[in-house]
């Protein structure tokens, strides 16, 4: 089937199989591999994107469900040297190691700061508890969130 999705402000069309997730379509058909495929069952948050402004796991949304909707991926927050403040904070704080969880955490953090500009530590932990990181132990991720909020 054919779907039309607005990704990072631009209209994209793709021919997809009915069973394909939005994540697969973004990564393999539309050229947005930034969203990651770590569990593909909504447990790890590595594929976090904004769907009409709501934070979702792209692995749990069918590409067909996104037809006619608006998606923002990590690529849409900042690219090249033009970084979103959250991306810059992750780099500065040392919150990136292998980095596979980073795109999802960046999107989740941007969504958090959108609705709660100065989150407490408890609010940060709760908001990011759906994003697994296996490398960092989360300490420097929390530092990055506070840094981004302060900026």
């Amino acid at each position: 089937m054919r779907v039309t999705v607005t990704v990072n402000g631009e209209r994209h069309e793709a021919e997809v199989w009915e069973g394909e997730s939005l994540l697969f379509a973004l990564r393999e058909r539309l050229g947005f591999p930034g969203s990651k495929n770590a569990c593909e069952q909504g447990e790890c948050g590595s594929c976090s994107v904004l769907l009409d402004g709501e934070l979702v796991c792209a692995c749990l949304v069918l590409a067909a469900q996104a037809d006619g909707h608006d998606v923002v991926t990590v690529e849409g927050l900042g690219a090249g040297e033009d970084l979103h403040p959250v991306q810059q904070a992750f780099v500065d704080a040392g919150a990136v190691q292998c980095g596979f969880c980073t795109p999802g955490l960046v999107v989740a953090t941007a969504a958090l700061l959108q609705r709660t500009p100065n989150p407490s530590e408890d609010e940060i932990r709760e908001a990011l508890s759906g994003n697994l990181c296996r490398c960092t132990g989360y300490m420097k991720i929390f530092d990055a969130v506070r840094t981004a909020a302060a900026r």
């Binding site: 927050l77 970084l83 991306q87 040392g94 190691q97 980095g99 296996r134």
Partner: protein, 743 residues
């Protein structure tokens, strides 16, 4: 070389010398999504590969019928062991594992056939249509019975390699350390039996890669791995190719932790690519990843510690049984490590340690961060606490009293000639001030059980635990451990460094660049992508060795390049091999050193942990962790802290939640829904104190830092749980039932 791929760009560093906190050179592309992981690769005309795996832990394979699968739309190849043109088996150290099952499967998830198709779903569906006739066999699932069961590998793959002779069936390796007089008695003796469940590396980036045929019979494989050259050396014989026809290129690695030391999809994708003459990509999903790599050995440990009334330990006796699962992987080395560090970082004049790994039909086990030392640290530190209680001595005082240090001897007889500041890390850790208890009532998120609001604080008890751990750095027991680096200096003053040391997230790219900038005195240094085509082997990114070895090799190559330019004045291109001082095998009968040290260097860490436990409901909360770690010299302090915090989190996972559960060898929880790893709500604040005591044999005095925090944290966290509950808690992960008294 393939021309269809977008290779990761050569990386440039803004600035940064050895000892400075430097931002990750790959940090920006990893935050924008532009960094290419193995699972992000694509090539024109690419097919998708899929693996059919055994649903049985142990079975004979009677027949495989591919005819149905081959008729499905989009299917381009379906291959079995018959299609493996060269050697039919492979392995990291012993080639005991079939590329594709031949006549028998020995573990749940063992690869049986592979499919390539135009769409991944077509490949999955074709795999479902392969008809395999199995005759299920009784699986060996109890490691204690393995040595009395029919052999899974009658040809005894690990025999004849210089290990202690142990003729019992299914023994991978037995190591015995007999030190001093193992019959020595003390005034006090404490005993315990300890168990550790099977832990998974659970790296977030699944096993992935892309194999591209070169049109001349060879293949380029772009893959997430820990050791490019040893991958190549295992892959080429199976493909009946020469090593130079198989070129391995490092693709972006989404974490490793030991789980990428063994091959996963490399040979399979290459077989499919060479068969179809098209690029083939394979990406495991999470369920498949749980069967696609080796795990941390589950262990059973029987320990007895004897001490004099004044607290001096006089004798440690320990038996360690490691379940190696179906294939050898690195079990032989894990067996030796478990034995070598069984006594902890203490002066133990007499010891009898027996460490055995066995073949079973459980999931194969091999390398994971801590590599045998995690298991014995858990048992040994619990024993020290028991001893302290029996002697009525403060447990930290008892550790200080027995702390090993330079000039002392390990139970292998090896004198400690380098740095090992055990006393200092204990004192520095002790000085870290834990927070005062939080008042009640408080936000549910800060109570055991968390936001589920299961308690208002009734029945919550606080506990404080302390543990010390240590481990070897680099390869041991006479392994020829080396790392190559190649440095090119250009007329414009810039430089390019080649080193195949795998960047798995630990930050070795920064180390390489920091060393090169320091040695060359310039910031204009590029790090070329890792590839077997351009530089010799680096050894693996494991064993807390990559920073040491890469720093040594890059330092030597830079100095040689500068000298060469001094002589010739022009552009130079030099490659140098770095070796650390040699190690020697241990005596197979006594486990004592022969004509030199078995380990080149050691590193230690101490950790203090505060927990709160709801003793009625069995729920736990780790409140605070303070640790002092022996790091030699911190090359990049921010990255060192990151290793400590992340390594601690993995030990917390083993202490409290992580266990691969099997029923008759079949994994029951192969998902992040059922195999839990620590989240942002589980990890407390970690305070790290970096203890810099330079290692004389290492470049810049550095030490590897990745493993000690994982070695010590499981032991320290459970010690705190014991303090809170008064329970023995001799098995990890500690379950709510263990605390609430339901088992």
């Amino acid at each position: 070389m393939s021309n269809v791929l977008r290779l990761p760009p050569a990386r440039e560093l803004e600035l940064g010398r050895v000892g400075e906190s430097v931002k990750r050179v790959d940090g920006v592309p990893k935050t924008t999504g532009e960094f290419e992981y193995a699972s992000d690769l694509s090539a024109a005309g690419m097919l998708w590969g899929h693996t059919l795996r055994s649903p049985h832990a142990h079975a004979r394979v009677l027949s495989i019928d591919l005819s149905d699968a081959l008729t499905l739309p989009g299917v381009r190849a379906v291959l079995t062991h018959d299609d493996v043109p060269g050697q039919k088996t492979y392995g990291l150290e012993f080639a005991d594992q079939p590329v594709l099952a031949i006549d028998r499967v020995r573990y749940f998830g063992e690869p049986v056939a592979v499919v390539a198709a135009e769409h991944p779903e077509q490949a999955r569906r074709a795999a479902e249509r392969i008809v395999v006739e199995y005759e299920p066999l009784e699986p060996i699932v109890d490691p204690e019975r393995a040595t009395e069961s029919a052999p899974l590998h009658p040809d005894r793959p690990t025999a004849g390699h210089g290990y202690r002779d142990d003729p019992r069936p299914n023994v991978v390796r037995t190591m015995l350390i007999s030190h001093g007089n193992p019959d020595t008695a003390g005034d006090v003796s404490v005993s315990g039996y300890y168990e550790l469940g099977t832990q998974d590396q659970a790296f977030l980036g699944p096993e992935s890669g892309l194999a591209v045929p070169d049109g001349e019979g060879g293949v380029d494989i772009y893959v997430a791995t820990q050791w490019l050259h040893v991958d190549r050396d295992q892959i080429a014989p199976c493909l009946a190719l020469s090593p130079d026809q198989v070129r391995i290129h490092l693709a972006g690695v989404g974490g490793a932790f030991g789980g990428r030391e063994d091959l996963s999809m490399q040979i399979h994708s290459a077989l499919l690519a060479l068969h179809t003459n098209r690029p083939v990509k394979m990406v495991y999903n999470r369920e498949e990843s749980f069967t696609g790599h080796v795990h941390r050995h589950p262990a059973r440990i029987w320990a007895e510690h004897r001490a004099m009334g004044d607290g001096r330990i006089v004798n440690v006796r320990m038996r360690i049984l490691l379940d190696g699962g179906a294939y050898a992987s690195s079990s032989t080395a894990v067996t030796a490590n478990a034995a070598s560090f069984a006594c902890g970082p203490y002066n133990v004049p007499n010891a009898l340690i027996e460490s055995t790994s066995v073949y079973t039909n459980n999931p194969p086990c091999g390398a994971m961060r801590g590599f045998g030392a995690v298991q014995t640290c858990f048992a040994a530190e619990a024993q020290i606490d028991k001893l302290a209680a029996a002697l009525s001595i403060d447990p930290v005082e008892l550790r200080l009293l027995n702390a090993i240090g330079p000039g002392d001897r390990l139970p292998t007889g090896q004198p400690i000639t380098g740095s090992l500041p055990v006393t200092n890390v204990i004192k520095r850790c002790l000085a870290l001030q834990e927070p005062v208890p939080e008042e009640l009532p408080r936000e549910a998120i800060r109570l055991p059980g968390g936001a589920g609001n299961t308690t208002r604080g009734e029945g919550v008890k606080r506990g404080v635990g302390f543990a010390v751990g240590f481990k070897n750095l680099c390869y041991s027991e006479g392994f020829d451990d080396f790392c190559a680096a190649r440095v090119r200096l250009f007329p414009d003053g810039s430089a390019e460094v080649h080193c195949a040391g795998a960047e798995v997230g630990q930050g070795v790219s920064n180390v390489v660049l920091q060393v090169a900038c320091t040695e060359l005195g310039t910031d204009r240094v590029r790090l070329a992508p890792g590839s077997t085509a351009n530089v010799a082997s680096s050894g693996s990114a494991s064993a807390s060795r990559m920073t040491w070895m890469a720093a040594g090799a890059v330092r030597d190559a830079c100095r040689a390049a500068l000298a060469e330019r001094e002589r010739t004045g022009g552009e130079v291109d030099v490659e140098r091999i770095y070796r650390h001082p040699p190690t020697k095998a241990l005596d197979p009968e006594t486990g004592q050193i022969t004509d030199g040290p078995a380990h080149v260097a050691l590193a230690c860490a101490a950790m203090k942990v505060v927990v709160e436990v709801d003793v009625d409901l069995g729920l736990t909360r780790v409140v605070w962790i303070g640790t002092a770690q022996d790091v030699g010299k911190a090359i990049n302090p921010q990255a060192v802290e990151g290793q400590i915090e992340g390594g601690t989190a993995q030990g917390l996972g083993l202490a409290l939640m992580e266990e691969i559960q099997t029923r008759d060898g079949v994994i029951a929880n192969a998902s992040f829904t059922d195999y839990l790893i620590p989240t942002a709500l589980d990890m407390p604040r970690v305070v790290s104190d970096l203890v810099e005591d330079p290692e004389p044999d290492a470049p810049y005095g550095l030490k590897g830092v990745g493993e000690p925090p994982t070695v010590v944290s499981t032991a320290a966290i459970v010690a705190a749980l014991r303090d809170a509950t008064g329970l023995e808690l001799a098995r990890v992960p500690v379950r709510p039932d263990d605390i609430a008294g339901l088992v």
